[in-house]
């Protein structure tokens, strides 16, 4: 084998990439993170920052267990990051709510959760359907239109911008080479190593981990893998800083450790991150006020749209290439929730050179091949 520059080239400098790179560095690998430049579409700067469990896994039961595994690992993950960097990512896990504004919404929610939990072999999320009065004991500021909702004790949230900064600080401290403006153009396997061409010149590595979000769709076929993606646009509305009043995150709304309230969860089929659809922001704000009427005269200080990383069926993709041994995909929508798994479970597998099929076989992109799916 040739003398590569790096043991592993991680393609993608967002949350998935840096969490994976940190985990690889902890395993003793010499790692480079190849990132795009400032014009990249950056999902990790625009996300909603839930570490979320309660609705994950309908249609793919093992995803529920995978999500719960990461949620359970998050406390230790945050603690280790703090010990290494001195930075607090403000992870909190008080449990979280999904609120319904009509009996129809509540019934739809209850049905979704029932179908999720009726799947064979699915883990128990301990999610409960609560009525208005039960919710009001924990969220005293809900409005009269909130008829009920669901509560899962495993849900939580984090300061995701600080998580992003903390992971970058942590990989830097562990000697990972962060290479910005290194958009990967081609990947070839020659002489037992990978050669990645970038706008700043080639990089050689013994292994490659594709963690480039929606761009995995372009990159994966270069190493004999598949990553079908369906990007989505989401919009977020942010209020001024308020005294703490909301002590539990809600699917569509949460109060950050710094006091702002983030309102989000819209979905549009778009790949344009630069525009805002005013009607979408207005609807988000209007529903937030019906859920929490005290928000009615609060000032909005920011709104933004961002592109969600989304696989075609919404579930993660973890694969290793048969045609290009040493090439892996690490691809998912929930880069915050699953950060602990990527750092503590996926990265050690890549360091060892083989995915542990007992854990991640259900997440192979082979599921998209009707004929090949076993």
């Amino acid at each position: 084998m040739a003398a590569s520059d790096y043991d592993v080239a991680v393609v993608g400098g967002g949350l998935v990439g840096v969490a994976t790179a940190w985990g690889l560095a902890r395993e003793g690998c010499k790692v480079a993170v190849l990132d795009e430049g400032d014009r990249a579409v950056r999902a990790s700067r625009g996300n909603f920052a839930l570490v979320w469990v309660q609705s994950k896994g309908l249609g793919l039961a093992p995803y529920a267990g995978w999500t719960l595994r990461s949620s359970n690992a998050w406390t230790g993950f945050a603690q280790t990051l703090k010990e290494e960097t001195g930075l607090d990512v403000c992870f909190q896990r008080p449990g979280g709510f999904h609120l319904a504004l009509s009996e129809r919404e509540l019934e739809a929610r209850a049905n979704t959760l029932k179908r999720l939990h009726n799947q064979p072999g699915v883990v128990d999320y301990k999610t409960e359907i609560l009525d208005h009065a039960q919710i009001a004991r924990m969220l005293p500021d809900i409005g009269p239109e909130v008829v009920g909702g669901s509560y899962c004790p495993f849900d939580g949230h984090v300061n995701s911008l600080r998580l992003f900064r903390t992971l970058h600080t942590a990989i830097n401290a562990r000697g990972v080479s962060y290479l910005p403006s290194h958009r990967v153009e081609t990947i070839d396997r020659q002489g037992g190593e990978f050669r990645l061409t970038t706008e700043k010149g080639p990089v050689r590595a013994a292994k490659v981990a594709l963690a480039a979000g929606n761009a995995n769709m372009r990159l994966a076929p270069m190493v004999g893998l598949l990553a079908p993606m369906k990007p989505e646009r989401g919009q977020i509305v942010v209020t001024e800083r308020l005294r703490p009043f909301l002590h539990y995150p809600v699917t569509t709304l949460r109060q950050t450790d710094e006091g702002t309230v983030m309102i989000g969860d819209s979905k549009e089929e778009s790949t344009d991150p630069t525009g805002l659809t005013l009607g979408v922001s207005a609807t988000e704000a209007e529903r937030a006020v019906r859920q929490f009427p005290l928000l009615a005269n609060v000032n909005v200080v920011r709104t933004w749209s961002a592109i969600r990383v989304m696989t075609k069926d919404g579930f993660p993709i973890y694969d290793e290439s048969e045609t290009h041994p040493g090439a892996f995909t690490v691809c998912c929508h929930s880069g915050v929730t699953l950060a602990a798994n990527h750092a503590l479970t996926i990265a050690p597998m890549i360091a060892r050179g083989a995915l542990d099929k007992s854990l991640v076989a259900p997440f192979s992109a082979r599921r998209f091949h009707v004929q090949e799916a076993g």
Binding site: L242, R243, L294
Partner: protein
Amino acid sequence: MFKRLAEAGAPVAITVDGKAISARAGDTVAAALLVAGIDHCRTTPVTGAPRAPYCLMGVCFDCLVTIDGVGSRQGCLVPVREGMTVETQLGKREAGR
């Protein structure tokens, strides 16, 4: 510290944190606070540092006060009105007011 150049406006009575202040018609809330010698009108949400009206033209947001029960209003953009209740705003605003 501040002195009026001309006092053409008619007196307007407002209260600041319950204390009666005499402003003049045409004053903004921020100007009335400065003339009354109030050296800060809020403290910041994160560090609690004192802040006073600064740009006086709606840009800097340092003059945020609670006016007639509504928090985070820009004092430099709101003209005084007879009977107006102004409160200094300490730290983060309270949702619902």
